[in-house]
Symmetry: C2
Subunit: 369 residues, 2 copies
């Protein structure tokens, strides 16, 4: 097997696979690292400086991975391109792929999953949503026997670490961000996290798994958390609440109407969301027959993401010819944003209250094509 991308998550995966948690039947043979050309002899076999990888071929050339004998590849380069094209090339070359890339799965998931099924290969992406919280399996398989009607969730660990840090210390967002960066929960540029774009991509993936809907992340209304100040946090606290970046999706099947948005919201402090602190994720999934299922867990960090990747790798190692049927997702007839009533309460337009989460009415964001 091979790893594409050797950042925080890639090195965490390599370290675990090279230690006592090695997966039977999967040997790490190749690592693609953009910096490999400088750091290592191309395709040279040698001991890595950090000492945990015994014998692996390093390369800075993607083609070396495509033509290698690795039959399973972990994609961790991030971003939409070239990652999406690379995943397709790997599947075309007969390899199964495990990815943590929410942007690729949100935008090209249905196409890539159909292509993987046609190739008789697997494309697994538990790590793309929820970190170590196994929500992809819970929604896609565990609740497959129900009809899911709503998902409300905290899906961005970075924003959650920042907001809960502001809450516990009273500090400004810049200080909370610096702290999150120091702890490895935030990248240098956290705007995609704070603006809700990261959570929107994850929510779009969940809309596919839960409702069978093809939704582009750009169709999901987002409201940034970037301008939240200590005063907002304190005010939420005085109301018995806490500010959280909430991702909300609700599907009215008879009308084929999807309501989907990401926004900072005041939630009850004792709720599953209020109690999610640091880089945690949390989700409430409502279904017709089983009511509400709650989940919470570490949503960011190399180790937590590596857990989801190793679980996917283990599933492939167990059954390399597992049948993963292609998704037959449809388009909603309409995609709605946040109900206006939810917007009136807070200090600004987009700081409302979760009490209105159940409403389907609201501003029309995008008419389905």
């Amino acid at each position: 097997m091979a790893i594409l991308g050797f950042g925080t998550v890639g090195s965490a995966v390599a370290r675990r696979l090279s230690g006592p948690d090695a997966i039977h039947g999967l040997e790490l043979t190749h690592i693609f690292d953009r910096r490999a050309a400088e750091k290592h002899t191309r395709l040279g076999h040698h001991r890595d400086g950090r000492g945990f990888i015994a014998d692996v071929a390093w390369t800075g050339q993607f083609e070396d991975i495509v033509t290698s004998d690795a039959d399973v590849v972990v994609e961790l380069v991030g971003g939409v391109e070239p990652a999406a094209g690379w995943i397709r090339e790997l599947l075309a070359a007969g390899k199964s792929v495990v990815t943590a890339n929410k942007q690729v799965i949100a935008r090209h998931g249905p196409d890539l999953l159909r292509f993987a099924a046609r190739q008789g290969r697997q494309l697994r992406f538990e790590a793309a949503v929820g970190g170590a919280m196994p929500i992809v399996r819970a929604v896609g398989e565990g609740l497959a026997g129900d009809r899911i009607t709503r998902i409300v969730a905290v899906l961005n660990g970075t924003t959650n670490a920042v907001l809960s840090r502001m809450e516990s210390t009273g500090c400004a967002m810049a200080d909370a961000l610096a702290d999150a960066r120091a702890r490895g929960y935030a990248e240098a540029d956290a705007s995609a996290d704070l603006d809700g774009l990261d959570a929107a991509a994850k929510l779009s993936i969940l809309c596919g798994l839960a409702f069978g809907l093809r939704v582009d992340p750009s169709e999901i209304e987002t409201c940034s958390s970037a301008s939240i100040g200590p005063g907002d946090v304190a005010q939420a606290h005085r109301q018995g609440g806490a500010l959280r970046q909430i991702a909300h999706a609700e599907y009215h099947q008879a009308l084929a109407a999807l309501t989907a948005w990401v926004a900072p919201v005041i939630v009850p402090r004792a709720s599953i969301f209020g109690r999610a602190t640091g880089p945690q994720n949390a989700a409430l999934v409502t279904s017709t027959y089983s009511g509400e299922i709650g989940m919470s867990g570490a949503g960011a960090g190399g180790d937590a993401t590596a857990v989801a990747i190793l679980s996917d790798l283990g599933a492939i190692a167990k059954d390399r010819s597992a049948v993963v049927p292609p998704p037959a997702w449809s388009r909603p007839s309409v995609i709605l944003g946040r109900p206006p009533s939810g917007r009136e309460r807070g200090r600004e337009e987009c700081r409302g209250h979760l009490a209105d989460e159940g409403q389907v009415s609201g501003a029309v964001l995008a008419e389905a094509v």
Copy 2:
């Protein structure tokens, strides 16, 4: 496909499979019902009285199911025998089996799973633990990429419904039990629920999935909740807590020492356990790399259990030749019960406090063979 047993869960499964939630590639053709001999012509095709099953062969003879052309069977007769023997016969006949039978899986799971693997068939049991809460998948697959060290959970929906009813109304246990029966959360005889035997069977299954350990339910220390009175509930409430039947398992890998017990415990009211009311289940799973994963959801009731069964049926329909490797579970070197310090606090020996849950020390319950 066939259903063995036509009680609350069996009829819920049949109703959903015969309605809009039918699973592509799975047609319900046979129902085994002990009362079928009286109620129906043996193997006669006819409309069921309740009108939701169009055309199915009813029988009171197990042999009719074994010799039928059904290739997937849902086992819902309950109890250890004849259920365990029947599951083996069905696997031997080349059928895959979905079961909600925690007693069979807890006692004969490893043998039956090995036999299923040898037969190239599947034995799935999501419904045996946690109701609609997909904890079997979460622990067995979603966290397969981690090393689970501890599971603390509310696993018995009946006891939880009774204890939380006593809490909200101040009533006696007999009244809470009558209420639970009226709502379909408790059987006529709830002693296996209150005494912790049901939760111990489920905990034994989770010990297999989480720690790779073969543990008989009888080796798990149980302390009954049956004698809890309104005074105990009120006292817990005054302490800011709530009484819950907690199932606890913790594995110290280096020592191969398992601590496992089921007992009523005072938990913080704001905790995931305190907030589990009615027939809900909840679990906190602690792992080396991802920390704590929380889950909660409906743990009892025909509809919730049917969700787990339909999810398993869907997985089989998707991939009838899926490879499910046989478990390679080992025996712990020692099985410990509840730490003594945990027992000193409450009014009686077995009403302690969750604060001590982390200790491995405690009474030796059973030396491993």
